[in-house]
């Protein structure tokens, strides 16, 4: 294996990452239930990408983002940042890495501390992660980032409840960028926002990326956003990556039956998506994962092999990687 170099290699790489959450034991039972949130996830994200992760609620998108940032520890596997293994670092060694990797959290209403004003919210990561800056430099840094993210300087002394959802999301983005990170996990940054505000935030993220050469891990359940914004996409189902492809390819040639189902389900201005009745599809329980393919129960192509043997990602001639025994 070659040594990964800083410039040509991926900025973030996960190898066989697995996350399991132990659940409380039932008092009558001796079994220790374990929830499988991520199962052998391998992704590599190149510098400057907008790498999107899509999938339905509970499939492990947030857990993947949090694991990469060290906010929860994988039960197996390895995570690399610029070629350096980071998942087993202690807090002190990790500190310089933390300022390079930040997160915009899923819910702009819950992610800001209601008792901290905007200045304190942004100054905290500077103080903690950029101790070399003087108080004055820190203040300048906060003001500069606020203006870059379209926040008015007069907001600094105000509390989160005084802002609309879109404004809060700008503040959350400013907080993520204040330490000048290279890599940002944006966890459903626009889902909680109104349509007219979503475009404002997406434009802001694009501009910031162009100005700063940021790399995004962009988590969403809305495929139309991926089409506009993404470079590559990982489609997840029940903790597993089912399909990995460039954003263009996945819309032109979706290979996994689950990806196809997701694409068909998008409501379209031209109509036609809801015309044929659909049978209820239920997600299997992440505690008692089926032995075979997690999607088999909902899959129109499923055969015996799918219920016996879990498919692993494999490459197809068009460059897509797909975890399906029969996709071609």
């Amino acid at each position: 294996m070659s040594t990964p170099s800083v410039n040509s290699g991926p900025i973030v790489e996960t190898k066989g990452v697995e996350v399991r959450f132990p659940l409380p034991t039932h008092f009558l039972s001796r079994e220790k239930p374990v929830l499988h949130a991520l199962n052998t996830v391998n992704v590599s994200i190149m510098p400057g990408e907008s790498f999107c992760v899509v999938g339905e609620s509970g499939c492990g998108k947030t857990t993947l983002g949090r694991s990469i940032l060290g906010l929860n520890s994988p039960t197996a596997g390895e995570i690399y940042f610029r070629g350096q293994r980071i998942d087993q670092m202690d807090e002190a060694t990790r500190k310089p890495v933390r300022r390079d990797m930040q997160m915009v959290f899923q819910n702009p209403y819950a992610s800001l501390n209601p008792r901290r004003n905007v200045f304190e919210t942004l100054a905290e990561p500077v103080r903690h992660l950029m101790p070399e800056l003087s108080a004055n430099e820190a203040r300048t840094r906060v003001e500069q980032v606020l203006s870059e993210t379209g926040c008015d300087p007069s907001w600094q002394r105000r509390l989160p409840h005084e802002f609309s959802g879109g404004q809060r999301q700008r503040i959350a983005i400013a907080r993520a960028l204040v330490t000048n990170p290279a890599f940002v996990v944006a966890d459903e940054p626009i889902s909680a926002l109104d349509v007219s505000i979503q475009a404002q935030i997406l434009n802001l993220l694009t501009e910031l990326q162009q100005e700063r050469g940021l790399t995004y891990l962009f988590i969403t359940h809305d495929l139309s956003v991926v089409q506009h914004f993404g470079t590559r996409v990982a489609v997840m189902y029940l903790g597993q990556v089912m399909e990995l492809a460039s954003a263009e390819t996945i819309f032109a040639e979706p290979k996994h039956p689950y990806t196809q189902l997701l694409l068909e389900a998008i409501p379209k201005l031209e109509g036609g998506s809801f015309d044929k009745p659909r049978q209820p599809g239920e997600l299997p329980d992440p505690v008692n994962l089926p032995k075979g393919c997690p999607f088999a129960a909902r899959c129109h192509m499923a055969q015996d092999r799918c219920r016996q043997e879990r498919p692993q990602l494999r490459g197809l001639p068009n460059g897509t990687e797909v975890a399906c025994h029969f996709a071609e």
Partner: protein, 331 residues
């Protein structure tokens, strides 16, 4: 006479001792038998207020301060609570975003369905049970018989919403009002539920008022559309027509802001600012501070809804092209 005729509906909430603010500021609509109407707008536009006001369900301290809601010629706002119960949940059913608003967590599905039926029909136990099973099958709930004894928490979110639809259909209503019925659900489950609602409305000729903020969803499901902004309807007409050739700058802006319309990596069209709160509406047209086409006149008085659009400078296909060029120039 249309089946449902809503005229100049206002909803007000007290502010201080002597003042009121209006969450709904004069909304009118008509609905024919079997017609499907979409109501679209951003959070706080007054969509839910409209639904609640139609059923005379505005909770204290709010009140319907003006207007009429005629259902087959009868003003629902004049009815006594006992009389309107004959209509609500019977001839007009509601489906909410959260199925647990409708479902009681401590009663089995079967018991809840039977109660709804008995409240409105004289029917034997055996008949009621058979009807409940039939309705659960209609909404494609697998093994319907055994699900009668299940409790809501034993079902997934999608199945719960199916049960709510089954309950809404039990009494063969003439209208279903669905307030964001799929907003809390995943895309594939949303597609299942909306396909089901669409199919049932078509088959049974049930009228639908579908409230959502998703233009794609109304385009898929409805024939008629109403776009709300700050407590008013700013544009209404055939869904297809509004989506293809919107005339109100807000309607046009919403459509242009959708990411599926923009090329990859290009700048999205964006409407500046955000919708004002009802406590602080700008003078004149409430949309003018965000509008690309505002003129002096828009600062003065609020435009009425004329020919389906409330705007002094409605877009023609020409002026719509003008913004198109403007966005390109910006990028």
């Amino acid at each position: 006479m249309a089946m449902l005729e809503v005229k100049d509906l206002h909803v007000a909430f007290p502010r201080g001792k002597h003042d009121e603010v209006e969450a709904l500021r004069g909304v009118s609509l008509t609905l024919e038998k079997g017609e499907r109407l979409g109501v679209v707008g951003e959070s706080g536009a007054g969509k839910s207020m409209l639904a609640f006001a139609i059923l005379n369900l505005i909770a204290e301290p709010g009140r319907v301060s003006h207007g009429t809601v005629k259902f087959n010629g009868e003003n629902l706002l004049d009815l006594k609570e006992r009389q309107i119960r004959d209509i609500r949940g019977n001839r007009i059913s509601m489906i909410f975003q959260d199925p647990m608003v409708t479902l009681n967590p401590v009663l089995s599905i079967g018991v809840q369905m039977m109660e709804t039926l008995r409240a409105h029909r004289k029917i034997s136990d055996k008949e009621a049970r058979a009807l409940c099973i039939a309705k659960l099958k209609e909404v494609a709930i697998p093994s319907a018989e055994s699900r009668l004894d299940a409790y809501p928490h034993e079902l997934s979110g999608g199945l719960r919403q199916r049960v709510v639809i089954a309950i809404a259909l039990l009494t063969d209503p003439e209208i279903i009002i669905a307030d964001e019925p799929t907003t809390a659900l995943d895309v594939t489950i949303q597609a299942e539920i909306m396909a089901l609602i669409l199919k049932l409305c078509r088959e049974k000729d049930v009228a639908l008022i579908l409230i959502t903020h998703d233009l794609g969803v109304v385009a898929e499901v409805t024939e008629k559309l109403m776009i709300m902004y700050a407590g008013k309807c700013v544009e209404t007409g055939p869904t297809r027509q509004i989506i293809d050739t919107p005339r109100h700058p807000y309607a046009s802006g919403l459509l242009k802001a959708l990411p599926q319309h923009a090329g990859r990596g290009t700048r999205l069209y964006q409407i500046p600012g955000s919708m004002p709160p009802i406590t602080n509406l700008p003078k004149g047209c409430t949309y003018h501070p965000r509008c690309d086409f505002a003129t002096q006149r828009c600062h003065g008085g609020e435009p009425d809804l004329v020919n389906g659009v409330a705007c002094y400078n409605p877009l023609t296909s020409d002026s719509a092209n003008r913004t198109e060029t403007k966005t390109e120039a910006e990028t």
